[in-house]
Symmetry: C2
Subunit: 359 residues, 2 copies
């Protein structure tokens, strides 16, 4: 119970401070934007070193101090009982009126959520490791056998539905067993995943096929991270040729600004972008008819991406500039205009064979 | 290929009309609100009999007539090739400029989607039967073995993730095999499903556990329908005690207004509402602290539900009136305030034992 120990250590420190008649405090790394940076060496968005102190005897901090210890105590209980709950359950489980006052421990969930993040960064422990689940999305199928919560699952035989990627994919929950797959293909859209899965693309090309269903949930990002770092599988990401799809890729690869403190566990800096590139329109002779005119909001977002440190690579700058010059974007489903199986029979095999990836 | 025959019959009729030098038309049941009613006998929201004619040689209808035949032809192709695509793929696959004109077959997906619905109702064939997929949601686990797209899946051994319910759960795709389960428990929220699945609630109470993850997708509704009608399993639905949760139940049971023409295939009129009832607050001694004050939009929605024909039962009227009187609603996660396992160890077993359901 290494995790329980970590929490106990936190609590013992506070106890010690009280015994010394000091004003008890907890030291918490700061998660504001000015403490976040892109680390070129590791290729991740990370937290800089700055820390803050949360005191018990300080008017503006006493409530948060109490809340921090309440959440920590509940997490210890979850770990000891080996039970998981959602972050909304946690809020409800801890909500009560403090006897003799009209003060509630928590008034809204937006008070307990940041405390969980504080503990994640302070204890260097994912909320999933604390047995707190959150919204999950995403499916997987492919040439690998896994164990999920004690059940062996052959992802080569998961039907049309696939394995629903759970919230918690930590080593003690999800184990990797036989794996022939040579790479991981991550697709943004479930519709495309369904199309590729129906064609058993993962069988023909010996890979693991994952859909994030839009922006990747934490469990999905963690799974991709583990497949890459533990099984040494290359990761290729397939999204729409638009700033939103490209940012989905960016979050998988670099981590996100919101969860910068977790990039070490969630990001996969070696991931590559397989498409769609706006240059694919010419390369594959795609009809202008199925491109979509950029809206103002698209252009604004492209400008933002161009300014991100981690999109400064000249290939990406060229991509964004070209998208703006042409004034259109392209969706994955548009490939169906070239034929229903074009994506699985032509587009992806060509890209893979040529190694035509963006960095 | 009964389905291909249905499409050919439609096309042959048009061909015959042309040969007879008539103005070709297709007869399509009308899907507007005034052609929709609640059928007390079957307990479903259904389409009344009114039909309209879509002519080729009529200015306002020629384009739609062409589009209807284009979609029908593509569906025939999908069925013959045994391949599935999303409705967005279909739009792109059919989009082109008609030679010699500046007219596109389709300009936006909102032109092709209603045509699909027209065909569903005209041919009495679900879009999934036409091999058109749409957004899917929901997970299942429990005491049943199924076959999904040729793969046998033991839903008793699906880990923490569960089986991702696919878009198409028709008989030729999803088959039911050994089933010991005695009922189906449908929960609105995935967080609650995860909690119950972790406790192996379905094992202890011998059931199948499904989450709709909010409003149920078509695949999920169809699966519940099939489990009830083919395996004769009672269906119990668990949602928040608020008008939104109760409407999720209503759609599973009665069908929806939008898809009234599909109620026969999607609705499960025998489904029962297991909770949350606003009266559970007293019955289970739930703290007022974890109830949520009704907002104006909640009250408005409750008033709407009270006016629906199919919510006129006095038990439901009493429920809604009481919710308005108390001025609060209650979320499933709020049960965690009574203990993390309260929902699986106390709440649900009590409700099941007493048969304390709303109709």
């Amino acid at each position: 119970m290494k995790r329980v120990k970590k929490i106990e250590r936190l609590a013992k420190k506070v106890l010690e401070q009280i015994r010394q008649m000091e004003n008890p405090f907890i030291e918490i790394p700061i998660r504001t934007l000015k403490n976040i940076e892109y680390d070129e060496k590791t290729g991740r968005i990370i937290l800089k070193g700055e820390k803050g102190k949360r005191y018990f005897l300080r008017v503006g901090q006493a409530r948060k101090f109490m809340q921090t210890l309440l959440v920590a105590a509940k997490v210890k209980e979850l770990l000891k009982e080996d039970v998981s709950i959602s972050i909304r359950d946690l809020y409800y489980a801890l909500k009560r009126t403090i006897p003799g006052t009209r003060e509630n421990t928590f008034d809204e969930q937006n008070e307990s959520d940041p405390i969980i993040e504080d503990l994640e960064v302070t204890l260097n422990m994912l909320r999933e490791e604390m047995h707190l689940t959150c919204d999950r999305k995403g499916y997987a199928a492919g040439n690998i056998t896994i164990v999920d919560a004690g059940d062996e699952l052959d992802l080569r035989r998961m039907g049309a539905g696939g394995w629903g990627i759970p919230s918690n994919v930590e080593k003690d929950r999800v184990k990797f067993k036989e794996c022939e797959a040579e790479f991981v293909l991550v697709v943004e859209k479930d519709a495309v995943w369904q199309r590729l899965n129906e064609d058993k693309f993962w069988k023909k090309h010996n890979c693991i096929l994952i859909t994030t269903k839009g922006q990747a949930a934490r469990g999905c990002r963690r799974l991709i991270h583990r497949l890459h770092h533990e099984l040494k599988l290359p990761v290729y990401v397939l999204t729409d040729a638009d700033p939103w799809g490209m940012y989905i890729y960016s979050v998988i690869k670099r981590g996100s600004i919101n969860l910068a403190y977790l990039s070490e566990k969630l990001a996969t800096p070696d991931a590559k972008f397989i498409g769609l590139s706006i240059f694919d329109v010419d390369k594959f002779g795609i009809s202008k008819n199925v491109t979509i005119k950029l809206k103002e909001i698209d252009k604004k977002r492209i400008a933002e991406l161009m300014n991100y440190e981690w999109f400064k690579h000249k290939r990406w700058q060229k991509e964004f500039k070209e998208m703006l010059r042409r004034g259109y974007k392209l969706e994955l489903e548009a490939l169906s205009n070239k034929g229903i199986r074009f994506i699985s029979d032509v587009y992806l095999p060509t890209k893979l064979k040529e190694g035509d990836f963006l960095p």
